[in-house]
Structure formats: C-alpha cells, structure tokens
C-alpha cells in the first residue's frame, strides 16, 4: 500500500522556510556522491524514503505513477511482470535508489541515445516548492501542453527547484529479444561504424567502445534482430544483460580500476567528436555522445577542452563545488531567477547543483 507523508514533508518545508534552515533532500541516498557537497553540515535532512508506493499503474495506458520514495527496484519488478520497462534504463547506483532521486538526477543508461533520457519520459509531477506549497504539473497522459513544462524542468534540477513528491512516467514494452554483438576495432573505426549505422533503420539500442572493442546491442523482434545481426556482423556476446548492467551501474573494469588521485569525469559531446588523445583510456557510450575518463587534471583544464566543442564535463563523484560546468553569465542569471521563483528562501538543496543556486 502506498504511504503518503506529503503533509508531514510539507510541514517540514514550511518550518524550514520560516526559520531559514536549508534542507538536504534525500531518497535512498544512493546518489549521495553526485553533485556538490560543500554545504553538507549546515543542512537538515528531508527524508523522502517513507513517502513510497506505486499509486497507479495501467500497463495499457503505458504510464506508472508513484510516490518519490518508491524504490526503483520495486518499480522495475512491477513493470517486469507486465513485460514493460523504463526506456531510459536508469542507473541505480545501489539497491536503495528511489524513483524520485532517479528523476531529480536525470541520469539515464545505455539506451538513452536510442530511446531518450529520464526527462523524456516524465509525464507529470507533484512537487513541494520552497514555500511549502504542493503543486501539480502535467499528468498521466502522453500529450499535454497546458502550462509550462515544469515536470520536465524538475528532471535534473537536483531538488533545487522543488521536492519531487510524486512522479508519473511513461513506460514502454520490453523488446522481445536483445542481443549484443562485439567487434574488435580501434576507437576511430568504431566511431565511424556507429555513425554509419546511426543513419540506417537498424534496431540498435546501445553502443559502447572501450579497449579496442565495440559493443552494440540490438533490440526488437526475433526476426528483426537476426536480420540486423547479419548486416552489422560481429560475435554475439554471451552475457549480454550483465554486460550492460556493468556499464550502467559502473561495475565494469574501466570504472573499478583504481588510479591514484584521479576523478571520474563524464563528458557530453557531439557524438562525432574525434578521440581526444589527452584523456587516455576512455569509455564511450551513446554512439560517442557520452564519454567517461579518469583524470587527475583540473576541472578548468578538462572543461577548456570540451567547452569549445559546445560540450560539458561533469565531475561525477564527490565534487566539492565544481561538479557541473559553470554557466554563462546570462544563463546563470536565468537560473537564479528560476530558483528564486520556486524557492525564494533558497532552502532546497542549496549548492548541490551550483554554488549560487
């Protein structure tokens, strides 16, 4: 049974706003590593994990609604029973991961480049703004253009604009079959192939390049996948599912290998950006649009490489105050105005995204 503690959460936010006490919003605490951390000690915790349970799920309507504290696991196993899934294949980074945290971080997995990001599947939210007002945006229908798209704005805002109370997300049917093909290629050749395939109607659902290997996942009907397999070529990988899980949850060797004094960086770039030699070992996902590197270089140096390419770099774990790439002055002003409009006292997760938000 769903447990709705939104009125208690509301009271907590109102009290915090009145006393100017900042709040750290926490679901399952599985993504505590993500974002900035300098403000930690001065905040009270706002616990969402007790606000949990699926409130509506209609497989034929392709939508599931749940309180934010619902474990992602629970959502996934319920969808699984009905041969459905979350198309953005969210990384959990722990068994405690919640739906609310997943949406607030807008993190998406291997399928992202082919199906869309978490934000693409958000249909509606109920939130608590920084004044303690409970607001509903969007709904449970696919097409809805009434009012500004505040629901999607919550995705990736890291709780700085509002506490996500409830979310409705679009679900999709699971593909009948999935296989992964592996080819030995150097990075430049692998990127070239991926870009050729991207222009063809092939049922590609994930790509990864690392260590001179190109992994490509196909999803669809049995016959469709078999036909594509012949076109693409390569060896079928035996443990396809666990391979992609290891990429998504960062349990693959690339992520586990410990190098002293390095940080894990997530680079978002034009997919056809050539290899950047400087970075050394790189793991490519999303057809080349997402790149993981481990580097001890300064944030400034790394960002100076990606900014001229209109890309951005995230210090993915344990950043103090430089997790996300600085915004241009006019964009920052707009962000501050928006923050002010949702959270005038600045009590919701201040600094988690940017120091001055």
């Amino acid at each position: 049974m769903p447990v709705d503690i939104s009125s208690e959460l509301q009271a907590h936010v109102i009290k915090a706003a009145e006393s100017n006490m900042t709040l750290q919003i926490q679901g399952g605490n599985s993504k505590a590593f993500y974002g900035n951390h300098y403000d930690k000690n001065q905040s009270e915790r706002l616990e969402l994990s007790g606000h949990m349970g699926v409130t509506a799920y209609e497989p034929t309507e392709l939508v599931i609604s749940a309180h934010a504290g619902t474990p992602l696991k629970e959502i996934q196993s319920l969808l699984d029973e009905h041969q459905q899934m979350l198309a953005f294949e969210p990384p959990a980074f722990g068994d405690e991961a919640t739906l609310g945290g997943t949406i607030a971080c807008n993190l998406s997995g291997p399928r992202r480049a082919y199906s869309g990001a978490a934000r693409d599947f958000v249909l509606g939210t109920r939130i608590l703004n920084g004044k303690g007002e409970i607001l509903s945006f969007g709904g449970e229908v696919m097409k809805n253009v009434a009012g500004y798209d505040v629901s999607r704005l919550m995705a990736g805002a890291m709780g700085t604009l509002g506490v996500i109370l409830d979310v409705s997300v679009k679900t999709v049917p699971k593909p009948e079959v999935e296989i992964t093909l592996v080819q030995s290629l150097n990075t430049a050749e692998a990127l070239k192939k991926i870009h050729e395939w991207a222009q063809l109607p092939l049922p590609v659902s994930a790509t990864c390049i690392n260590n001179q290997q190109l992994y490509i996942r196909l999803s669809g009907t049995e016959k469709g996948v078999q036909a594509a397999k012949i076109i693409l070529g390569g060896e079928a990988l035996e443990n396809s599912e666990s391979y992609w899980l290891s990429i998504k949850e960062q349990q693959a060797d690339f992520f586990l290998s410990d190098k002293n004094d390095t940080s894990l960086w997530r680079l978002s770039l034009a997919s056809n950006t050539p290899e950047i030699e400087l970075y050394g070992d790189t793991l490519y996902e999303w057809g080349g649009a997402l790149r993981w590197i481990k580097s001890s270089d300064s944030a400034e140096n790394i960002r100076n490489q990606v900014m001229p390419l209109q890309g951005h770099a995230v210090r993915f774990q344990n950043a103090y105050d430089d997790a996300f790439q600085p915004l241009s002055k006019p964009l920052l002003k707009l962000h501050q105005n928006l923050k002010q409009s949702f959270d005038p006292s600045g009590i919701l997760n201040p600094g988690r995204l940017y120091k001055n938000l």
Partner: protein
C-alpha cells in the same frame, strides 16, 4: 512613446520594408489558424537577422512595448493573435536550413523553416524529422517548438520536445542565449524543456537544432472497422498490451468516416461506427511480424472488417481519408471548431457518450477524430457563424468538452496549445497555486510581462471572473470542482 515615434525608431533597426504599419498591410496578420479571434497589431516587424531581433527586443524592453512572435500563423489556439498596442514580430524571413550533419543525425535550422521542408532536405540521406503536425506543409519549426507540436506519429516518436537538441533564443532584454549543447544534455536546468511549448511567453526562438531519424525500411497500415466505438477503443489497449507501439494509431467515428469518405473516397466502410488505422513501421522483418500479430488482435477484438493496405498506393489512400478529415468535416457545415483534449484512453467510452449528450443539449453536431494511441481527442463541432449565437454556443460546448477531459484525468490541450482560446479552461486545469507558479516562471524570463501578454496562463482575476460567469448561468458544469 507615440506610435509615430515607435515607427521611426523601429525603422532604424529594420531593413527597408521590414516594418509594416499601414492598416491594409496589417490585416494579413490579424489572426492565426484560429480565425474566430482577430486583432490588428500596432505594427509588424519582419527582421532578417538575429542582430535585428536582438535590437528590436532591446528596444521594446526599453519602451515597454508588448511583442508577439509569429511563425507561419497556422496555430489553432490564437497563440499568435496580435496585441493591439504591441509589435507583431514575424520570423518568416528566417527560412534557411543552416547545416545538416548526417553523422550526428541533426539539422540546424532557422525558425521560419517549414516542418516538412526539413524532411524534404534530408530525404536523400535516408533521414527525416519525425514530428508531423497535420499543418506540416505550412507550419514552421519555430512555431512547433513554441507549441510543442505533435502529430500522428507521437506515440512512437514523441513530441517536439523529444526531437530537438538545441535552441538559440533571444530574451526580452535582447540577450542571445544558447540552450542545450552539442551532446545529448547540457549543464543546469532543462531550459530546453521549459522553452518547448512555452507559447512565445519566455523568449523568441531564432535557431533550432532538430534530431533526425533514419527513415523506416517499411511502413504498413491496417484498417479495421468496428460496429461499436467501445470495441475499437478496447482494441487499442490490446495492441499495446501485446508489446507493440504502432507508429500511428488513429480512430474516427461515424460522422468523420462519412465525411472523409464523401470527400476523398478512401474506401472506408460506411456502415462502421468507428474505424482504426494502425500504422506499423520498422525493419522489414519486424513489420511482417507485427502486421500478423495486430491483424489477429483486431479480429479478436470484434472488428467487422480488417484490411491491410496491399501496396504503398493503398496505404496512402487509407491515410488520405484521415488526413482530410478536418476539411471533409468542413464540407458538412459552414464552420467547424476543432477541440484538442487528451484523456486516459480507457475513459474513451464515457467521454464519447458525454460528448454526444452535450451535442444533443447544444444542438450542434460533432465528428470525432482521435489520436487513439496517445489519448488525444479532436472533437470537431459543426456550426454556422452566421447564425446569431451559434459561435457562442459552440465555444461553450467546446469549453464543456475540455472540462470533461480534465474531470477524467486528462488535459485541456494535447498539442494545440492554450493561447487565447483555452485560457479560461486553464482555470479548471490548474489551481491558483500552480498558476501563480507559472506567472513566477514567466517573470524569471520576462519580468515586465512584455512577451505575448495575456496568453497561455490566465490571471487569477480572470479565473475568478470565469467561475462567476458560469455560476450566473446557473449551469456550473462540475460543482465538485474547486473554483477561485
């Protein structure tokens, strides 16, 4: 500032002929696709460079002059209705495709480029731009972004918001901003989502980077006839339960079928109460598998006739009827009013029943065309604007339909936008707290409220008056709904 002074200043910014201000030149801009609402703007600006747009907005900001941006003017909710004391900013001259990057499957285009022109330009690369609003031969991509336009393929391929990667906008203060990046995401808030569907209230779009998709290897359409709309609705659920997401899934009711058949002779069965058109696309093998599964489902759901288009020509004929449904209905009556609510699909039977009851009550016929896959309903109310009081009755009937959509858990607009048309129904869709938050979001971008004033989000005052109006008529439709 006096009008003549405004004209002088704006002429200095714009090229020769770039500012229209004589009444006869202003008339073509008096309305958009919702022609029941008309107003003359004070002036029309036709800039041809981003620098001019920046200078115009900076100037408007400095003298508090309202600005309404306009693309092709095909919108159906009055979003581009001019402001009588303001400037209409036409983006018509921004009609160039700036760059096509086949490797990345993107195209960078100016806002005045027509939707279909993008697909045409990348056709020989085997690519296309997926969102296909029915006005796609005329509507522009800038307007598509402003309205978050959909089309018949949204269920599988998403709305505009899912198919764009970057925007360049000019703020009311004249600042040029890039939103989004070269990768699949960008730092900070998702302003790309916020801008999409914001109806010209937050900024002026001056460049759009759209995502392109490979053209499916094959598309096949199945036509199924039913003797009962409820069975047709249930069949849609059965197809989705089977794990199939059709590229398009459209339903038409009896009146719409008859109108379309009379108009284009698509071969629709005239004895049917409803037909479903189900398009399946993908690889050749996938489509073959899905066609046989869907045919079985349709037969099992009680269809009285199931036909698969035997060739591309028949596929086009099947679609022709659906695509001509609006003008076909237009032949049945001097005027028609197209509504745009979305409902959870399972509520379709009761919504259709309620609409037919309202149709009797208001003595106005309705034809229903339905994007059945995603729950987006387009009831077309037939009326005659020349008969006194009929337009008013139609608008009230339309308002009732939208409120009904909200009542069953849906929304007042699936793809046409709020604009001027549905501003009152926004008071039913949202409560004052949400509306206040919307106004605060608007103020974050446009503190003076100069961009498209009076559209999309009603003032609380307006909502109070709207509620009062209904009570005066002693016909408050849903007394259980909160009013403010």
């Amino acid at each position: 500032m006096e009008r003549i002074e405004l004209i002088n200043k704006l002429q200095q910014i714009l090229p020769d002929g770039g500012l229209l201000y004589n009444e006869e030149e202003l008339h073509p801009y008096e309305c958009d696709g919702l022609s029941a609402y008309r107003k003359l703007p004070m002036m029309v600006a036709l800039p041809d460079s981003v620098a001019q747009v920046q200078a115009i907005l900076k100037f408007c900001y400095s003298v508090d002059l309202p600005v309404v941006a306009r693309g092709a003017g095909t919108g159906l909710s009055g979003g581009a209705l001019p402001h009588e004391k303001g400037l209409l900013l036409s983006l018509a001259k921004f009609n160039e495709i700036l760059d096509i990057d086949a490797q990345r499957c993107i195209a960078r285009v100016q806002p005045g480029v027509r939707n279909i022109a993008i697909s045409q330009a990348v056709d020989d690369l085997g690519l296309y731009y997926a969102p296909d609003p029915s006005s796609q031969i005329a509507c522009t991509i800038g307007g598509n972004v402003a309205e978050n336009s959909g089309g018949v393929h949204c269920l599988k391929y998403g709305l505009t918001v899912h198919n764009i990667q970057q925007l360049k906008i000019v703020t009311i203060e004249g600042e040029l901003l890039t939103i989004g990046g070269s990768g699949l995401d960008s730092p900070g808030y998702d302003l790309l989502a916020l801008m999409t569907g914001s109806e010209g209230m937050l900024g002026v779009i001056v460049e759009v980077t759209v995502k392109l998709l490979p053209k499916p290897e094959r598309a096949q359409v199945i036509l199924a006839a039913f003797d009962d709309v409820v069975k047709a609705g249930a069949a849609v659920g059965h197809i989705i339960s089977a794990g199939i997401i059709p590229a398009g899934l459209e339903m038409m009711d009896k009146l719409a079928i008859q109108a379309a058949e009379d108009f284009v002779h698509a071969g629709y069965p005239l004895d049917a109460e409803a037909i479903l058109l189900c398009e399946l696309d993908g690889t050749n093998e996938e489509v073959s598998t899905h066609v046989s599964v869907v045919r079985e489902i349709l037969n099992g759901s009680g269809a009285i006739d199931v036909r698969t288009a035997k060739d591309e020509q028949e596929r086009m004929t099947f679609w022709k009827g659906r695509k001509a449904a609006f003008p076909a209905v237009g032949r049945l009556s001097p005027d028609y009013y197209c509504m745009d609510g979305t409902i959870p699909r399972k509520r379709l039977p009761e919504v259709l029943k309620a609409i037919s009851e309202l149709s009797v009550k208001y003595d106005l016929a309705v034809a229903n065309v339905f994007h059945a896959g995603d729950g987006n309903l387009h009831p077309l109310i037939l009326y005659d604007a020349n008969k006194p009081g009929e337009l008013e009755r139609t608008e009230e009937f339309g308002g009732m339909i939208l409120e009904l959509c909200v009542k069953v858990g849906g929304t007042i607009t699936g793809e046409h936008g709020v604009g001027m048309e549905k501003i009152n129904q926004m008071c039913v869709q949202f409560e004052s707290l949400e509306l206040t938050q919307f106004h605060a979001v608007k103020a974050a971008f446009d503190a003076k409220g100069l961009l498209n004033p009076g559209k999309a989000v009603p003032t609380l005052h307006r909502c109070a008056e709207f509620g009062a109006m209904h009570i005066h008529n002693a016909e408050l439709p849903f007394p259980e709904l909160e009013r403010f």
